[in-house]
């Protein structure tokens, strides 16, 4: 529904748009140089997700600072991810990478997580069908089916997936997880289904970094699409042709 409405909105002229926006003050937000009109609704609980929407993230790397790991902390807190002081094998759904350009000495830091590929290699290799892509583009592991073979971990070029080696207690109700299965960033699927934004994005914005933006890549009126259209966004390892849902600026 909202998709249809938004395409109708796109057809409005700027003048008409402004006029109607003034008439209906509700739902209008004016940010510097940006007008937002649409008030998206969380989908009804009984409705299945559709491919009309494709959820994505835009990470503005010029605003992401070295040493800040607010997004990582938020993810670990919300999903109750606990380590065992074994950095090589402890689970991580999102991590910070520090990349140095050897030629210029330029150092940058960027968050790395499941890139929610359009053509996910983890899904290609999964022998049981546990690794799958939801209609709205979110790549997930169905741990009811996962046998813990870790083939997907090998296939992922982003090292985004982890294997839980230990028995887990007191899990988050919204993020059930246990020993012997593979897991990764879910794009906070339970929050998204309830009309909320992912925890990392929320934390980044609450701390006034504003380096992460979440939205619908299929909706030309969404803020993320507008920014991507205007400034572009890079895929990491674009040469692999994976059509990632997570895009980066300033890398």
């Amino acid at each position: 529904m909202s998709h249809i409405e938004s395409s109708k909105n796109a057809a409005l002229t700027r003048r008409k748009f402004l006029g109607s926006a003034v008439a209906t003050t509700a739902g209008l937000t004016i940010a510097p140089g940006v007008l937002l009109f649409r008030a998206a609704q969380a989908k009804p609980a009984a409705q299945a997700v559709t491919s009309k929407v494709r959820w994505g993230l835009l990470i503005d790397n010029t605003k992401c600072s070295t040493g800040c790991d607010d997004c990582v902390t938020a993810c670990k807190t919300v999903h109750k991810l606990e380590g065992h002081n074994r950095p090589e094998t402890d689970v991580q759904w999102i991590r910070k990478l520090t990349v140095t350009d050897k030629q210029t000495g330029h150092v940058m830091s960027l968050p790395m997580m499941c890139q929610h590929c359009g053509n996910p290699p983890c899904v290609d290799v999964c022998p049981t069908g546990a690794s799958f892509k939801r209609a709205d583009g979110i790549v997930l592991v169905d741990r009811h089916i996962c046998i813990g073979c870790r083939y997907c971990m090998m296939a992922c070029p982003y090292k985004a997936r982890s294997f839980e080696h230990e028995v887990v207690h007191d899990q988050s109700v919204s993020a059930p997880r246990g020993k012997g299965t593979v897991e990764s960033c879910t794009l906070c699927v339970y929050r998204v289904d309830h009309g909320k934004i992912p925890a990392c994005v929320e934390a980044c914005n609450e701390a006034k970094h504003g380096a992460m933006l979440f939205g619908d890549l299929n909706d030309p009126e969404s803020e993320i699409s507008k920014r991507l259209t205007k400034y572009g966004g890079k895929e990491i390892r674009a040469d692999l042709g994976l059509n990632t849902g997570v895009r980066y600026q300033g890398i």
């Binding site: 998206a40 999903h79 887990v168 909320k196």
Partner: protein, 161 residues
Amino acid sequence: MSVGLYKKKLSLLLAGLILTLPLSLFAEGILPTVPKAKAKATAEYGCVNPVADMRRNHMKYLLHHRDQTMHKGIRTKKYSLAKCIACHVTPDKNGKYPKFGDNDFFCSSCHNYAAVTIDCFQCHNDNPKSAYSSLNLNRQSLPEGHEKFTSNDTLPSGDAK
């Protein structure tokens, strides 16, 4: 005594035994004692469906709902495992919640008796008090540039506070 009368007496005796058998079994604790749910989900049935149906088919409902939620993002509350737990797992006198595996944990009370192993709680939380607060669903403020959503469906509240 004629054979016919003897047969009649024996059958009466047997009938009496059969009638009292279930009662004595419960009294002596041979059959499992299933803890009472916290509240009635529906006025007419008690549970979300008639109890007899739930006893026979709960696994089918849970399995179906599991796939619907996981793969299609359908998050209705009727057959949600978290909602079952919220209502069926009750605290003892000291306010302590039983863990999965204890005989006074709702699922275990019967599954231990029937020797049917379930692995739901290797991943899912068995405690109804586990916080939905991690979701921060009440937070209204959204950062600049994000669409303002209005959630018209809330999570099962249960007794999660």
